[in-house]
């Protein structure tokens, strides 16, 4: 029976108690079977909510109908507006009009350097992809980088310099800066301070070093609200002082057992793109010599649910203190000689779990280049991270699964003496500012007025500085409090260089002239160095001319630009050993942070009582530290676990919520000492009890029209001694509600029969190995699924379905389509396979799809009505009970491109039709907006334009530059959905056909040239150039969809089923392949690989024993 109170635990337990086998659910409301949820489900079109807010009388209705009927006819008669063609004056050599070019560059969008390839249409960048040759991106990228293209064209970007918040000119600023420089030269630069984000550019480091020589008294301060020094402190603690400038680089592909101590290495840590790929390399189910599948195993102990925890085979949620206790327990088990600090509470990790983990980590490896690995979160207190390093040494992981690369840029001369971590650095700056020692302050990037810890009054001290200047993309909170604001160039607008974690250097190559009167950081420093006339191009080239050490620099330069990485720049890992006095150093560190230890202990005592909560602060998965607040794509991106958009919230466990009488959307006040934070509550399954998680980056005051006043600012609650964990926090219910726009209930696949539908199919490695050809968890229950081969009436290749002879296909009343290949003219049969095992839920594909397909954002109000437009959504399904859920398991859901598509037959105007390649096509100009198709879609992948969401681009011409010219911009009243990136398919198909025709033409004359007939662009489109016959040339095209290209773990395979050797054909024959809602006989072209987890057998037995 439906229940009114959404998350009543008893209801959930009752519901779960009656189930056999695994039960999957998307939200707590669904699990409890609440009334609101049922109402949501039973309405065919929840999006229609409030469409006609007032009642309409019959007469009005008829009037409206008559008018709309008349208008329907007239809308087709609008005349094509006159159009101009504006050719070049001088023909550019490299551009073929109408064909995009790709340039290699690099960016550190959220602090991680990724090598990129950027697509440019006649000098206008429209899409960012990863550079396959770059070690940190490997052809993939992340959601932030995908959204950076919108950042470039953001109409709210600062366009001119400001002085005291009055518009000024760049020249005016340059003159002022020159005068400032003259006075600074008089006194050796005393009073000159520079506040900068972590330096990742060697040219910039070189400029700063030269600046330090010119102004010996100058001081450099480094501040970043996310990377604030715990990792470096831990390295120093573990390996000694000189190790603080090292960077650990994990080799997760070499690790067969991984333990994550609150590390979210798959999503939000350092270099998640690379680590996710490495990790999935060990999870990709290769069969060993005996034909048994093998995969790595991941244990996670976390303080808040994370994407890494969601992928873990065993995951525990604990408080920080319990986590620390667990780390010490484990260290003891592994034989690391350390003294367990007094006052730590018991970890409450079952002894058996601890022993199983220790045993698994210690296990003998078959080869020397394999080892276990412990990854500690870089936000954890240094002592825990150092302890993890010590355990890694004990496990032989150092040098095998974790290597340490030197980071010379961390050790800048000018930064010496300003404290060895960002917090100290910022504090010393603020102290100097307050003392009146700072005459000139240059703030390069960042937004310290907004994101400084609450106990460091940066904003107040800034008033004391006579000459302050902020170089930034936006005129943000800091800019408005500085004397000068200087607009900064986007990374696609200026030259620079960047060094990745392992030392690999890349040149940052601009894609277009600066849109506005912007400066690069190199130009700003050049002005200070008295080289005002040098451009960023000259500065970067001069640095590399010196550094490249080659005679033929021009050649070196162009080759480097083309490749995207500096050859031979990748560093050598440095060997490190634990310092000899590690145990004493660790206890000293423990004693030094007495205050924190006390509060930890105090908090531990509180856990049993009803007193205080632990607050965990994390960077936001969408807006990070606040720098992406004005990026509408990221604002509307549903956060991976909560599916919340446009806001942040306090994540609370269902048990605590029940105890405190709270539900999702209730405003609460968190208070720690004198600091308070008002924030709405959001219930999250798997959140550890007595722990509240909040994310940074919201509550911006001057972010721009998109980001200002969205969400709640957590920085005032964050102090320098409690950057990531605040203990002893009191929670008070305010009694008011706040609307939260979560998409968790949107586009539900009717879950009434969820048990029978088996939307998510998940098994264990041992189950798979028991039935490697035909695992039962992939095809549970229904004989119809097991019997039917996926290809109707065709030979089934080496498919696993019909091993005992083919069962006849399930009959259908839908029209039959013929996709068969024809030797004369190859016919494609497009299909996609999504490996749910590899999907980490990182959202990169959702943003990539948005960027590629001109998908608009709709705003918070419209999201609440369920009208978000993402063509690709990622559903998260939990299993188990609400307190200790398993997962979630992620399911990316694009259009299924059904062979028997229910949407096609109901369209009254044939706007959605079937193509001979099996695409389910949507023709916008035909659509009249009946929405029958969406009603009839069992997967709920169709999106309707209730309004003209893209808006009139003539009003914001800069956004016109953003649009992909190969995709139609949709207007009001039109249905849209995933097209399998048909514009890419068409481009590749045309390219292949043209190449084949050329080949055919020259066949009689010069057979050797046939392979060369396709132009360079064919390679850019992914066309195969190794083809030898016209047929094969057309046959072998490989094309990537946007979601596939961006995926860090390569979870998406796409291609042609009529090519038996294509990766997608092979993927569809994989034993794990299954069709979503296959029992509906829709014959989807998008299929899934079931999830396989690899739990420790000894822990499984225990679970079973408990159950029985």
């Amino acid at each position: 029976m439906p229940r009114k109170d959404a998350h009543e635990l008893a209801a959930m337990r009752k519901r779960l108690g009656g189930q056999r086998g695994k039960q999957w659910w998307r939200s707590l409301e669904e699990l409890a079977g609440s009334e609101a949820f049922q109402a949501y489900l039973s309405r065919q079109f929840p999006q229609q909510h409030n469409l006609l807010s007032q009642g309409t009388s019959r007469r009005q209705f008829l009037q409206l109908m008559g008018a709309s009927l008349a208008l329907a006819g007239l809308s087709g008669c609008s005349e094509e507006p006159a159009d101009a063609i504006v050719p070049y004056v001088q023909t550019p050599e490299e551009i073929v009009p109408g064909k995009p070019l790709y340039y290699a560059t690099a960016a550190a969008v959220a602090g991680n350097v990724l090598g990129l390839l950027v697509e440019s249409h006649e000098g206008r960048p429209t899409k960012i992809e990863g550079n396959p040759d770059h070690p940190a991106s490997r052809g993939a990228s992340d959601a932030f980088t995908q959204a950076a293209i919108l950042g470039l064209y953001d109409p709210d970007r600062s366009q001119t310099a400001y002085r005291r918040n009055q518009i000024a000119t760049s020249r005016n600023f340059a003159e002022n800066l020159a005068a400032e420089r003259d006075s600074l030269l008089q006194n050796q630069g005393a009073g000159l301070r520079i506040l900068i984000e972590p330096v990742l550019s060697p040219t910039l480091a070189d400029q700063l070093n030269r600046l330090a020589e010119a102004f010996p008294e100058m001081r450099l301060h480094v501040w970043d609200p996310v990377r604030c020094g715990q990792r470096e402190a831990a390295l120093e603690l573990a390996f000694g002082e000189e190790a603080a400038t090292l960077a650990p680089v994990y080799r997760l592909d070499m690790a067969d057992v991984v333990l994550s101590l609150d590390a979210d290495f798959l999503a939000s840590g350092w270099y998640p793109v690379r680590y996710a790929d490495d990790f999935m390399h060990g999870r990709r189910l290769p069969a060993d010599r005996a034909g048994r599948w093998t995969m790595n195993r991941l244990y996670a102990v976390q303080t808040t649910p994370s994407l890494t925890g969601a992928k873990a085979d065993h995951c525990l949620s604990r408080h920080l203190a319990q986590l620390e206790a667990f780390a010490f327990d484990l260290a003891e088990q592994l034989g690391v000689q350390v003294q367990r600090p007094p006052g730590l509470p018991p970890s409450e990790v079952p002894q058996r779990w601890l022993q199983a983990v220790a045993e698994d980590l210690r296990r003998e490896r078959l080869s020397d280049d394999q080892a276990a690995l412990i990854v500690a979160g870089e936000h954890l207190p240094p002592r825990i991270q150092a302890l993890a390093a010590a355990m890694n040494q004990q496990l032989g992981a150092i040098g095998t699964t974790v290597t340490y690369y030197p980071q010379p840029l961390r050790n800048l001369k000018a930064a010496q003496g300003t404290g060895n971590n960002p917090v100290q650095s910022l504090r010393s700056l603020v102290e100097a500012m307050e003392a009146g020692d700072v005459q000139t302050l240059l703030i390069i990037g960042g937004n310290p007025v907004y994101d400084a810890p609450a106990d460091i009054d940066f904003a107040g001290a800034l008033v004391q500085v006579p000459f302050s200047c902020h170089l930034s993309l936006y005129r943000d909170e800091t800019s408005r409090r500085c004397l000068w604001h200087v607009p900064r160039n986007h990374f696609l607008e200026g030259w620079s260089d960047l060094v990745a974690e392992d030392g690999t250097a890349s040149i940052v190559q601009p894609l277009l002239e600066p849109l506005y009167e912007g400066w690069t950081v190199h130009q700003l420093l050049a002005h200070l160095l008295g080289e005002a006339d040098r451009t960023d191009y000259e500065i970067v080239r001069a640095y590399w001319r010196q550094r490249s050490g080659t005679d033929d620099f021009e050649r070196w330069w162009y080759e480097t630009l083309h490749r995207g990485t500096v050859e031979g720049s990748t560093g050598e890992p440095q060997s490190v050993t634990l310092r000899s006095d590690f145990a004493t150093a660790l206890s000293e560190a423990q004693n030094n942070s007495t205050a924190q230890a006390e509060s930890t202990a105090g908090q531990a005592n509180n856990t049993s009582g009803s007193g205080a909560y632990d607050v965990v602060i994390r960077p936001d998965p969408c807006v990070w530290d606040g720098r992406f607040a004005n990026n509408a794509w990221l604002q509307e991106l549903p956060k991976p676990l909560t599916k919340l958009t446009w806001d942040n919230a306090a994540l609370l466990s269902p048990q605590d919520a029940e105890a405190a009488g709270l539900t999702t959307g209730d405003l609460v006040e968190l208070s720690a000492g004198s600091r308070t934070l008002q924030v709405p509550v959001l219930l999250l399954p798997g959140q550890p009890p007595r722990t509240i998680t909040v994310t940074l980056g919201y509550g911006r005051r001057n972010a721009g029209r998109v980001g200002s006043r969205q969400g709640f600012d957590v920085y005032p609650f964050r102090t320098s001694d409690a950057l990531w964990f605040v203990h002893g926090v009191q929670l008070r219910k305010l009694g008011t509600k706040y609307p939260l726009a979560t998409t968790v209930h949107h586009h539900l696949i009717d879950p009434k029969e969820l048990e029978e539908r088996h939307i998510i199919r998940e098994g264990t490695l041992s189950e798979l190995n028991a039935q490697p050809r035909h695992p039962h968890f992939v095809h549970p229950g229904h004989a119809v699924w097991q019997a039917r081969p996926w290809k109707r009436g065709e030979a089934n290749g080496n498919g696993h379905h019909g091993e005992d002879g083919h069962a006849p296909p399930v009959p259908t009343a839908y029209p039959e389509w013929d996709y068969s290949d024809d030797l004369e003219q190859h016919r494609y049969k497009w299909a996609m396979v999504i490996d749910q095992n590899a999907c980490t839920g990182c959202n990169a594909c959702v943003v990539a799809c948005q960027a590629e397909n001109n998908i608009p954002v709709v705003g918070k109000e419209e999201v609440i009505r369920g009208r978000e437009m993402h063509w690709l959504r990622i559903d998260a399904y939990y299993a188990g009970d609400a307190a200790n859920p398993i997962g979630p398991s992620f399911q990316p859901l694009p259009c299924m491109h059904c062979e028997n598509a229910p949407c096609e037959v109901v369209c009254p105007v044939a706007a959605t039709t079937h193509s001979k390649e099996g695409l389910n096509e949507m023709t916008y100009n035909r659509c009249v907006g009946t929405r029958y198709c969406s009603n009839n879609c069992p997967y709920k992948v169709r999106r309707f334009n209730y309004f003209n969401y893209t808006g009139d681009l003539r009003e914001l011409p800069v956004l016109q530059l953003l649009q992909n010219p190969d995709v139609t911009i949709r207007t009001t009243g039109v249905m849209e959905k995933c097209t399998y990136c048909v514009q890419r398919l068409n481009a590749a198909r045309i390219e292949a056909k043209m190449a084949a025709l050329d080949g055919g033409q020259h066949a009689g004359q010069a057979s050797g040239q046939r392979g060369d007939s396709s132009p360079d662009n064919a390679a850019q489109n992914g066309a195969n150039q190794n083809s030898t016959t016209p047929h094969q040339a057309a046959h072998g095209i490989s094309v990537q969809t946007a979601c596939q290209q961006v995926c860090p773990t390569r979870a998406i395979t796409f291609g042609d089923l009529n090519t038996p050797s294509s990766p997608v054909s092979e993927a569809r024959n994989h034993p794990l392949n299954y069709e979503l809602l296959g029992e509906l006989n829709t014959r989807p072209r998008t299929t899934y690989w079931a999830i396989v987890r690899n739990p420790n057998p000894s822990l499984i037995d225990e679970a079973n024993e408990e159950a029985t």
């Binding site: 094509e80 050719p87 070049y88 004056v89 073929v96 064909k99 039709t913 100009n925 068409n986 662009n1017």
Partner: protein, 239 residues
């Protein structure tokens, strides 16, 4: 009670009921005629240009190949509109004092692009690729008409979807040898010319140049050779 309506009203009402049907049909028919008329399609209507450029002069009189100016027509979706420097290749020597070309010289000198008015404008939701049409042996004149006979340029055909589909359904009716793609004459007009006979001799010696169904047979062969297919899926043009 007196009758409200006079008996003549019976006739009037009958006439008006039937008349209404005819009236509605007539309006629909008129609309259909209207959308196909040059008044609506702007087909065969000369579009004013800032410079009275004559294709007739450049193509027929001077014999300049299409690709000299429309450089990317074989490779790209967009055929390419010549940059000012292409004009100036010749016009820095020829007619370099003509007031008619002042705009070209100004553009070149001041680095300000020319602004031509678009003649062939398909809607933004329709994607046309020049390269593949040329590659498959569809001649320029099949869509653009006899550009060599246009002193000022106009759109020869309506460019309506109906018109596109006519060829997309039966592409073999419009194919021509790739060797003659850039020739303005129709295939029928080319038959019998020396050049065409030489082509037949070399490539299709089995065909009789005198045969009355030569064009039909040749198109049949070409359709196979160029792998012409009826491309009528929506996503071929709409995406």
């Amino acid at each position: 009670m007196a009758q409200v309506f006079h008996p003549v009203m019976n006739t009037i009402s009958r006439v008006s009921i039937f008349g209404a049907v005819f009236f509605i049909v007539a309006i629909v028919l008129l609309l259909m005629v209207y959308v196909r008329s040059p008044y609506s399609t702007r087909a065969q209507v000369v579009i004013d240009q800032p410079i009275p450029f004559s294709h007739q002069h450049h193509v027929a009189d001077c014999g300049i190949d299409c690709r000299y100016c429309h450089t990317s027509v074989e490779k790209s979706a967009f055929a390419g509109i010549p940059a000012t420097d292409v004009c100036m290749n010749c016009h820095s020597f020829l007619f370099n004092d003509q007031p008619m070309l002042e705009l070209v010289r100004t553009s070149y000198r001041d680095d300000v692009p020319l602004r031509w008015n678009r003649v062939h404008d398909v809607p933004d939701f329709a994607y046309f690729h020049h390269g593949i049409h040329i590659g498959k042996g569809i001649g320029c004149s099949s869509c653009h008409g006899r550009v060599d006979q246009m002193p000022l340029t106009w759109r020869e055909y309506s460019l309506h979807m109906e018109w596109c589909l006519e060829c997309h359904r039966h592409p073999a009716k419009h194919v021509r040898p790739k060797e003659f793609v850039f020739r303005m004459e129709s295939l029928e007009e080319l038959v019998g010319t020396e050049e065409f006979n030489a082509y037949l001799q070399q490539n299709h010696p089995q065909l009789d140049p005198e045969s009355p169904d030569l064009v039909f047979k040749l198109r049949e062969i070409l359709a196979k050779e160029y792998k012409l297919e009826s491309e009528t899926n929506c996503s071929v043009c709409h995406r």
